[in-house]
């Protein structure tokens, strides 16, 4: 039922390709290739695959087994220099990229989206092998969403108007929206392809050139995208893709004097370091960081929907979502029933082999993440929250954690304050609207929030009162490309997707010309 609901939920909000593709997908039994070939393990610079200059490689694991899948090139400072140089050449005034018609930039994105569509099954299998998410999700959610995002941005290049200004005096003044220049983009491991598309979409649409750093846990699909970029016909140097770690590769990008803007998605802790470094050179920065998002369930809601969506809000993607609904506030009147039903639902959640079509939950990304989650579970137990289901590692191979539900959680418990990034649900009790808004906002984060109610007033008043970049009413995790996404407070800076995202990839240039006589 979850898969049905999730599929419907996601598809209803623009993540689908076409009706036909979706229904075909539903009819056919989905079988993912467990051993997709890994053909691209090198750095993608200037439309070519090259070894790291130092010749280093690192191992990439399958989190479902802990086995090594491949060794890929490990980029460090010199490779970053090379990639930035490629960006710089591609961005040179008068270059093919700078002279390209806006609509032609859009056509490249349309083409790239078509290639994602062609290779959907392969990309989904590779994503699942490397990230651990169920193949069903990679195939039905991640790849179609990538396609939708690329096509959304494909429409923008010839629609990003500047303005003509009603200036005083004998002047003519207008604005041009120019590309910010060379962009460094650092992608996390939880949605490797989706977040890659969220980054390259606006950068291509606005005419920037970019160095992308893939996460060291999940570089495989991103490197394959290098091949698709080459095939789509992008000029060399427009998009360069590196695999490497944070301290060497990521840091070199952030510190590089020729990089004009940094876009980072990841933890708040790393985001602050990046923000600080970028500030030293006044680089434009967009950060999409962590969250501890409140999900508020009122007694007048449709309880079936609320239970299912709250389950989805937290457990989707193994709980590895920056916007996971990880503080479920439930009105006192329905608290016990909600808890009981949520526990039942969590018990039914199928954890295991991500290539099994019945699997709802795969492994966490790494041993380290698994240990961190188990440690936080332990802290919840010790603090006095009631562990109702789960709480332990699942099996002894791979990095699986049981779906876990805590009731009687208090606002000051660590599990109610810190981002767990795992399948651990906290259910808290509230009595009044004012109280719950205050408690929901009492966090350093502000990425997302949701409200379940059938009351018009409550829906609007509470969503207005919540300090979060996305508020979902009677739904969760709507990621339509048209909707901006990003954080209040320490959940980040700037917005991704939507028209708003274009602002952070463009500079406004105001041109003022003296003229002989101005009239209205």
């Amino acid at each position: 039922m979850l898969s049905k609901l999730v599929t419907r939920q996601v598809f209803n909000h623009g993540l689908r390709l076409t009706k036909r593709a979706a229904s075909t997908a539903a009819q056919q039994k989905l079988v993912g290739d467990r051993n997709p070939q890994v053909n691209y393990r090198k750095l993608f610079i200037n439309n070519e695959f090259v070894d790291a200059i130092a010749g280093n490689v690192f191992e990439v694991l399958n989190p479902a087994t802990g086995d090594v899948i491949a060794e890929v090139a490990d980029a460090s400072e010199k490779d970053v220099d090379k990639a930035v140089k490629a960006c710089k050449d591609a961005f040179r005034l008068g270059s093919e990229w700078r002279r390209m018609d806006p609509a032609a930039r859009g056509d490249l994105l349309y083409k790239l989206a078509d290639l994602f569509e062609r290779d959907r099954a392969y990309l989904a299998a590779l994503e699942t092998v490397n990230n651990g998410k169920p193949f069903k999700d990679s195939y039905n959610i991640d790849i179609p969403h990538c396609i939708a995002v690329l096509r959304y941005y494909a429409g923008w290049p010839d629609k990003m108007n500047g303005k003509v200004l009603p200036i005083s005096g004998d002047f003519f003044a207008y604005t041009r929206r120019e590309p910010v220049g060379i962009v460094g983009q650092i992608i996390p491991w939880n949605f490797p392809l989706i977040l890659l598309c969220w980054k390259i979409g606006p950068s291509v649409a606005t005419g920037c050139t970019t160095v992308v750093k893939l996460d060291e846990h999940t570089p495989l699909t991103g490197l394959y995208v290098g091949k698709l970029i080459q095939e789509a016909g992008f000029p060399p140097g427009v998009i360069n893709i590196l695999s490497g770690d944070g301290p060497h590769c990521g840091a070199s990008i952030v510190k590089h004097p020729d990089v004009n803007k940094i876009a980072f998605t990841g933890s708040t802790q790393v985001g602050k370091i990046i923000g600080g470094e970028a500030a030293k050179m006044v680089k434009r920065t967009t950060l999409e960081l962590g969250g501890k998002s409140p999900n508020i369930v009122f007694a007048d809601c449709n309880l079936d929907t609320a239970v299912e969506m709250s389950h989805f809000a937290l457990f989707f993607n193994q709980g590895q979502c920056c916007c996971a609904g990880s503080r479920t506030y439930v009105e006192e009147k329905i608290y016990d029933e909600f808890v009981q039903r949520s526990v039942e639902r969590a018990k039914r959640r199928k954890v295991g082999d991500p290539f099994d079509e019945n699997t709802e939950q795969g492994p966490q990304i790494s041993h380290e993440q698994m240990d961190k989650i188990l440690d936080l579970i332990e802290s919840g137990r010790r603090a006095g929250a009631k562990l109702l289901v789960g709480g332990q590692r699942e099996g002894d191979k791979g990095f699986f954690v049981q779906p876990t539900v805590f009731s009687d959680v208090r606002d000051n418990h660590r599990i109610a304050r810190e981002e767990i990034f795992g399948p651990v649900m906290q259910i808290l009790k509230f009595k009044t609207i004012d109280e719950v808004i205050e408690r929901a906002n009492d966090t350093e984060y502000g990425l997302a929030a949701s409200v379940f109610t059938n009351d018009l007033d409550k829906g609007i008043v509470v969503s207005n009162g919540l300090r979060a970049g996305s508020v979902w009413v009677n739904t969760y995790d709507n990621f339509d490309p048209v909707a901006p996404f990003g954080g209040f407070k320490q959940s980040g800076l700037g917005r991704e997707k939507s028209e708003y995202s274009l602002d952070s990839y463009t500079e406004a240039k105001c041109v003022t010309m003296k003229i002989s006589q101005r009239n209205s």
């Binding site: 609007i460 048209v482 002989s516």
Partner: protein, 552 residues
């Protein structure tokens, strides 16, 4: 005009907000007028919006050979309604003529009032609130449009020959039109998920937002000079906003529109979303303009007919009107211009498309210092212009569209001679078959001559002399038209001054007719209402609904 709903139920309220046909919808209050919130009517409650940012929109203009012919197979000659082909209700057909020969190509079913009624019914059904079209996600609508554009490109060879057969423009020009049309549809497909309403900062305890909703059934009446391209300009924004369409192609050139209708079906548009009714103005076009169940009419054509369309729209159901009409557009060549460049631009400005172009640069103002040289070189270029069979790859200029246009143009040429203008070249028919006219240039043209005041729509260049820039701006603006204007100068300040002072919807500096999909196009004064192309082009195809929710 307005509507209210009192309910505590969130989803019910939102359902009412979507489905009520009114410019303002108030939830849990009534009559909440606010400066920030646009106010105005759907249907017969009025046009346009007052208050809010939208209120400003009402008060500004935006400046911005035979052997081959026989090989073209005619596939569709019937009326296209509900994705099906129909015979005319009155059982009649009309002849479609090849302007290169004056001979009949085929007979096409003649749509009249009864057929228009049928098409409107189909469109109305397709627009029903529960219809598949209304329920499509934006992206699905965009995908259909992009599919349609792909089909236009796929069939560019066939379509360009058909267009040339029916319209007389060269095959190369037809190809250019079709590819530009496909780009136009793609451009608007990109808009589908980017047409955003606004949330408006209301007073406290209020939530105000606007929805941009499709207007409904749109009657679109297009001309014969750019048959496919005018169709694309009309379809693009209308479909992007989610409207349904009854298109009347010009009776002279219905063939490509009918073929495109088959592509609409092939692309997968639901029945009734696009209907094509070939017919004439008095019967078919008029039936659209006066129709009580058509919500909007868009017309491209002559000023004379445009006025009738607007009047009929107002007298019937006050349907929304957008008009793209005639012009007598000035092109000003300053003394500092590179003369060869200026001559080539001026030549292209008037003679493109056999001068059957609403933006034709038909008043060429040339500075007295370079006047004589300009005339000499222009005559040289005009004499080189290849007029003839549009299927011949060397041809630059085909025939005029029909005998009546042909005669009208020749009579304008006569009037100019009588008025004392000097005929420098051309001035007569080319060949003895079809409706070809030699590229014609008149010098010594004065502002009060007929050829300097009326739209000729034929290959006649009128060159006027000027001495001062203040004078030429006044003269350039001394017309009831205001569609296009051009200025050729190397002086930056002068270029910008002209751009500011010329009364025209499009001003081109150091170029002419630089029309592109992103840039709005339309007329000041009697050259029309509203804009096509660009983001502005969307504005003619949505209603703004203001929703005010009182938080109680």
């Amino acid at each position: 005009l307005a509507a209210g709903v009192i309910t505590k139920d969130l989803s019910r309220a939102l359902q009412f907000v979507e489905q009520l046909q009114a410019g303002s919808v108030w939830v849990n209050q009534y009559g909440a007028l606010q400066f920030q919130a646009p106010f105005g009517g759907f249907k017969e409650s009025g046009h346009g919006r007052e208050l809010g940012r939208y209120g400003l929109a009402e008060y500004y203009e935006m400046s911005s050979s035979d052997s081959q012919a026989r090989k073209v197979e005619i596939k569709y000659t019937q009326i296209f309604i509900n994705n099906e082909w129909h015979k005319a209700a009155n059982g009649k057909t009309f002849p479609v003529i090849n302007p290169s020969t004056g001979e009949e190509i085929c007979q096409v079913e003649e749509a009249t009032r009864v057929d228009v009624d049928k098409a409107v019914k189909a469109a109305r059904k397709a627009f029903d609130i529960e219809s598949p079209w209304r329920k499509y996600e934006p992206v699905a609508r965009a995908n259909l449009m992009r599919k349609f554009a792909t089909l236009l490109r796929r069939d560019v060879d066939y379509l360009s020959k058909l267009e040339t057969l029916n319209n007389g423009k060269s095959v190369e020009d037809s190809k250019g039109d079709i590819l530009a049309s496909a780009d136009c549809i793609d451009y608007y497909a990109g808009w589908v998920d980017k047409i955003t309403g606004e949330t408006i900062p209301g007073g406290c305890d209020q939530m105000i937002f606007t929805r941009h909703e499709p207007i409904g059934v749109c009657g679109q009446i297009i001309p014969w000079n750019y048959p496919i391209m005018m169709m694309a300009w009309k379809f693009g924004p209308a479909l992007a906003c989610g409207n349904v369409i009854v298109l009347k192609p010009a009776e002279q050139t219905p063939l490509t529109a009918l073929y495109c209708a088959s592509l609409i079906k092939e692309a997968g548009f639901p029945p009734g979303v696009v209907n094509v009714v070939p017919g004439d103005g008095p019967q078919c076009g008029n039936a659209i303009s006066v129709h009580e169940d058509i919500d909007k009419v868009a017309f491209t054509g002559s000023v004379e007919v445009g006025k009738k369309v607007q009047e009929a729209a107002a007298k019937s159901n006050l349907k929304r009107v957008s008009l793209e009409l005639g012009g007598k557009s000035p092109l000003i060549i300053c003394e500092d211009a590179d003369i060869d460049y200026a001559v080539s631009v001026a030549h292209r400005a008037i003679f493109t498309n056999a001068a059957q172009n609403c933006t034709a640069g038909s008043r060429t103002f040339v500075h007295s210092k370079i006047y004589d040289e300009f005339i000499a070189r222009s005559v040289e270029l005009a004499k080189k212009r290849v007029v003839g069979d549009p299927f011949d790859p060397d041809t630059e200029q085909g025939p005029q569209i029909n005998d009546s246009q042909f005669q009208k143009i020749l009579s304008y040429i006569e009037s100019a001679k009588k008025d004392g203008a000097k005929l420098e070249c051309g001035g007569e028919r080319a060949g003895n078959k079809g409706y070809f006219i030699k590229p014609t240039i008149f010098s010594g043209v004065k502002d009060n001559m007929k050829i300097a005041r009326e739209e000729i729509f034929g290959p006649v260049m009128s060159v006027l002399k000027f001495d001062s820039y203040e004078e030429v701006i006044k003269r350039a603006n001394g017309t009831s038209f205001g569609l296009g204007a051009g200025v050729i100068t190397k002086d930056l300040t002068r270029g910008l001054t002209f751009a500011q002072q010329l009364q025209a919807g499009s001003v081109w500096v150091n170029d002419y007719d630089a029309v592109c999909n992103q840039a709005p196009f339309g007329g000041f004064k009697q050259s029309g209402h509203g804009r096509e192309l660009g983001r502005y082009g969307l504005e003619a195809y949505y209603e703004v609904k203001t929703v005010v929710i009182k938080l109680v």
